[in-house]
């Protein structure tokens, strides 16, 4: 786990009541919610494929991935297309988030490691917990979010 560099920009997104963030470098594009082609025998969190300018991109539902119940699509629902380095390979994938807030930096001093116990989610996905003003922002560890097995599955799907 490498430390977060100062001045790094993040894209913040909302899932349920929490605010999550990914590094802006991993974000390729932010899209409106659109029709997703479903895949047979896929795990629950893998919603299916979308077409992004000629590339097939698998989409994951963040809510399901984080163990939350699925929510209906609203006009704020967004798909954040990520370009992730995973196991030495580049991987294009979409995360379905309830909303996307902005591109912003975090208050650097406030970035903390994730707590060991008493959380609602699996803490290995979390790279750290930062602050922006009084709000907590949970920064994803994208490589962990997509474990080797899942990444292989996604590659296969793509």
């Amino acid at each position: 786990m490498h430390a977060i560099e100062a001045g790094t920009q993040f894209v913040t997104m909302g899932v349920d009541r929490e605010v999550f963030a990914v590094e802006v470098d991993a974000v390729q594009e932010i899209l409106d919610a659109r029709e997703i082609a479903r895949l047979p025998n896929a795990p629950d969190f893998l919603l299916g494929l979308i077409d992004v300018r000629g590339h097939s991109v698998p989409v994951l539902d963040l809510r399901l991935k984080l163990g939350l119940p699925a929510a209906t699509v609203t006009e704020n629902t967004r798909i954040v297309v990520l370009d992730v380095e995973c196991g030495g390979r580049r991987l294009l994938l979409g995360l379905l988030a309830d909303r996307v807030f902005e591109v912003t930096g975090l208050d650097q001093d406030a970035v903390e490691p994730p707590p060991e116990i008493g959380t609602r989610w699996r803490s290995e996905y979390i790279r750290g917990i930062g602050r922006r003003g009084s709000d907590f922002v949970i920064v994803f560890d994208l490589a962990r979010l997509l474990t080797g097995e899942e990444a292989a599955l996604l590659r296969k799907a793509a």
């Binding site: 894209v11 594009e29 006009e75 902005e102 591109v103």
Partner: protein, 685 residues
């Protein structure tokens, strides 16, 4: 029990008819009995008698034919007789068969006995016939009389010649001998005849013996003559001998035939055995006949007895039915005549006007009903006459009252006429007011209609405004969408700028500004949408209120129209009232003259009532009704208030409350307070 004339007649005729039927049945029964015995008579007894009689005749005929057959000499005759005999025997047989058919009981035994006797007779008869047919005696006689006689004459002539020759020659001995020969010859012939005449063979043989003696003498003498015969006479002598020999031969034949003696035997048989058997048969026949006659007599007696019984019974029935018929007829006619004469008397009394009569006749039949009806009729008539009497009295007094009333009426009519004129003037004033009302109402109606149209137009305008507002809201939502897209684009630009690092800083600021602008546009659009939504709601409410207003205005117009119509009707009604008042004036004048006429008519009526009283006095009502007549004025007096009471309601005005309820609609009663039935149809504003 009710015993009507119909029932009585039915009973009487029924009994008489029943007796007639019984006597007819008895007569038919007797006739049937007589018919039976007659049939038996014709079928059996008479047949029996006839058959027996025929048998008797046939038997007599047969007997006669038998005799004739015995006596008959020619073959032809015999054949005829035999045929006849056979026929008669056949007839007897046929009748025996018939007798057997019809015979019964004792008769049958007699018939059987007779048949047996006849059967016994028949072979005897056959034998007699055969013997008679043989006919030997007659044949013998014929031979003797015919050929015998000729030959004998010839021989005798030769002997006479010979005798003559001897005499000529003077041969005395010869002549004597020849004479003796001739005498003996004649003696033989005599004996032959005697044989023929004998019945029994013994007698015949006796005669034959004598004849033989003479024949021998003749033969001897012929022999003696031989030497005496001269040469010239030899021829004659020989011829004589030949002829004698011929005759002898014939004589022997005659004798043989005679000995056969069939005719005599037949006769004997017929007159001994035949008669005996026949007599026996005849005896049975007689018995049969006697028996049949006895049957005949018995049948006659039986028929007579039947007839007598039937006649007596029928006479008795006839007598009984006649007596019963007369009795019933008398009974019915007496009862009917008594009742009818009573009823007739009552009817006559009523026709003479006497209603006091009463009759006492108790019978539960039609006459009784008639008498009861008559009595009821008289009672009713009595009541009716009494009522007519009192009515006539009432009419007389009533007509006087009527006269007085009509005068009052005349006076009242004059007052009424002046009142009607006043009412007419008031009505005209009212009609003018009503016309003014009607004009105002129609103007109001026009205005209300215009308002209704205007309200409708306003409603349309509001609807159009609402539609325009909705269009604006739609357009604004497009703007909102564009703002959202812009926001997204700005976000992506920000991402790009961030990824560009230091080089992208300026661009990031721009993207941020754009994003802010987009967010503000979005907020403004949302605000506009909210506002336009509110406007639409308000406009819709306004439209709704307007649309509610339109029917109200329309309703107002209609009500005003109704008011206008009612005013017109009122106008017409006022006219009608005016006319009616004028009509009333005329009627009042007519009433005045009519009441005068009525006065004179009532006098006429009084005269008529008097006449009626006189007419009705024709009926006499007896003591109690006559006694009641003077008390009738009291009755009349009690009737009077009733007559006045009848008139009173007509004179009284009808209560106004009731008038309002009527369906006329032209009655003006503006003073009446409170709602009535018509008010319910209108709404108050």
């Amino acid at each position: 029990m009710r015993f009507t004339i119909k029932a009585r007649l039915a009973l009487g005729f029924g009994l008489v008819v029943l007796l007639a039927v019984v006597s007819a049945v008895v007569g038919i029964q007797s006739l049937a009995n007589i018919n039976d015995s007659l049939s038996h008579l014709v079928g059996h007894t008479v047949v029996k008698i006839r058959a027996a009689n025929r048998i008797d005749t046939a038997m007599a005929n047969a007997s006669r034919m038998e005799r004739n057959l015995i006596l008959e000499t020619t073959e032809e005759g015999m054949a005829r007789r035999a045929e006849s005999l056979k026929e008669n025997i056949a007839a007897v047989r046929a009748d025996i068969a018939r007798l057997k058919e019809v015979a019964d009981g004792e008769d049958a035994k007699l018939v059987e006995a007779f048949a047996a006797a006849w059967a016994e007779y028949e072979p005897i008869s056959d034998k007699v016939r055969d013997l008679a047919m043989a006919n030997s005696n007659n044949k013998a006689e014929a031979l003797a009389e015919g050929k015998g006689r000729q030959t004998f004459r010839s021989a005798y002539a030769r002997m006479v010649e010979l005798t003559t020759a001897f005499e000529k020659r003077g041969e005395a001995g010869g002549t004597k001998l020849a004479d003796r020969t001739r005498q003996d010859m004649l003696q033989v012939v005599v004996n032959e005849r005697n044989i023929l005449l004998q019945d029994s063979v013994a007698d015949m043989e006796q005669q034959a013996k004598a004849a033989d003696q003479y024949v021998k003498e003749v033969e001897d003498q012929i022999g003696d003559l031989g030497p005496l015969v001269a040469v010239g006479e030899r021829d004659l002598y020989n011829r004589f001998r030949g002829e004698w020999a011929d005759w002898l031969e014939i004589h022997r034949q005659v004798r043989a035939l005679s000995y056969e003696n069939t005719n005599n035997r037949a006769y004997t048989l017929s007159s001994t055995d035949g008669i005996k058997v026949r007599n026996k048969a005849q005896e049975y026949l007689k018995q049969i006949l006697a028996k049949a006659r006895v049957d005949l007599e018995n049948a006659e007696k039986q028929a007579e007895a039947d007839f007598t019984t039937a006649r007596n019974l029928m006479i008795a029935m006839l007598g009984l039915s006649a007596a019963m018929g007369i009795g019933i007829a008398l009974w019915i006619s007496i009862s009917v005549s008594r009742g009818l004469s009573l009823a007739g008397g009552l009817a006559h009394a009523v026709s003479q006007g006497d209603l006091t009569r009463d009759i006492d006749y108790r019978s539960r039949d039609e006459i009784g009903d008639l008498v009861d009806s008559l009595k009821e009729m008289v009672a009713r008539l009595r009541t009716v006459v009494t009522e007519v009497n009192s009515a006539a009295d009432n009419v007389a007094s009533g007509s006087q009252e009527l006269s007085a009333s009509s005068e009052e009426l005349s006076q009242g009519a004059t007052e009424q006429a002046s009142s009607a004129e006043e009412a007419s003037a008031s009505m005209e004033q009212m009609a003018a007011n009503i016309k003014q009302n009607a004009d105002n109402a129609s103007t109001t109606e026009k205005i209300a209609r215009q308002s209704s149209k205007d309200a409708e137009a306003s409603g349309e305008a509001v609807k159009k405004a609402v539609a325009a507002m909705q269009t604006i809201a739609e357009k604004i939502s497009i703007v909102q969408e564009i703002a959202r897209q812009t926001d997204l684009l700005a976000l992506n630009a920000a991402v790009e700028a961030a990824r560009a690092g230091e080089h992208g800083k300026g661009f990031a600021v721009v993207a941020s500004e754009v994003r802010k602008l987009a967010e503000r546009s979005q907020a403004a659009a949302a605000e506009i949408i909210t506002l336009s939504g509110e406007t639409v709601t308000v406009s819709a409410e306004a439209g709704e209120m307007l649309s509610k207003l339109v029917p109200d205005i329309r309703r107002t117009a209609e009500l005003v129209e109704e008011i206008s119509a009612a005013c017109r009707e009122q106008d017409i009604g006022a006219d009608q009232i005016n006319q009616a008042i004028q009509q009333l004036d005329k009627v009042t004048q007519q009433n005045a003259s009519a009441s005068e006429e009525m006065s004179s008519t009532s006098e006429e009526l009084a005269a008529q009532a008097e006449q009626l009283q006189q007419t009705i006095a024709f009926f006499r009502l007896g003591e109690e009704q006559a006694a009641r007549r003077p008390s009738q004025p009291a009755v009349k007096a009690s009737h009077r208030p009733i007559a006045v009471a009848h008139m009173a309601p007509k004179a009284k005005p009808v209560p106004p409350r009731k008038r309002n309820g009527s369906a006329g609609g032209v009655t003006l009663n503006l003073a009446a307070a409170g709602a009535d039935a018509h008010d319910a149809e209108f709404e108050r504003y």
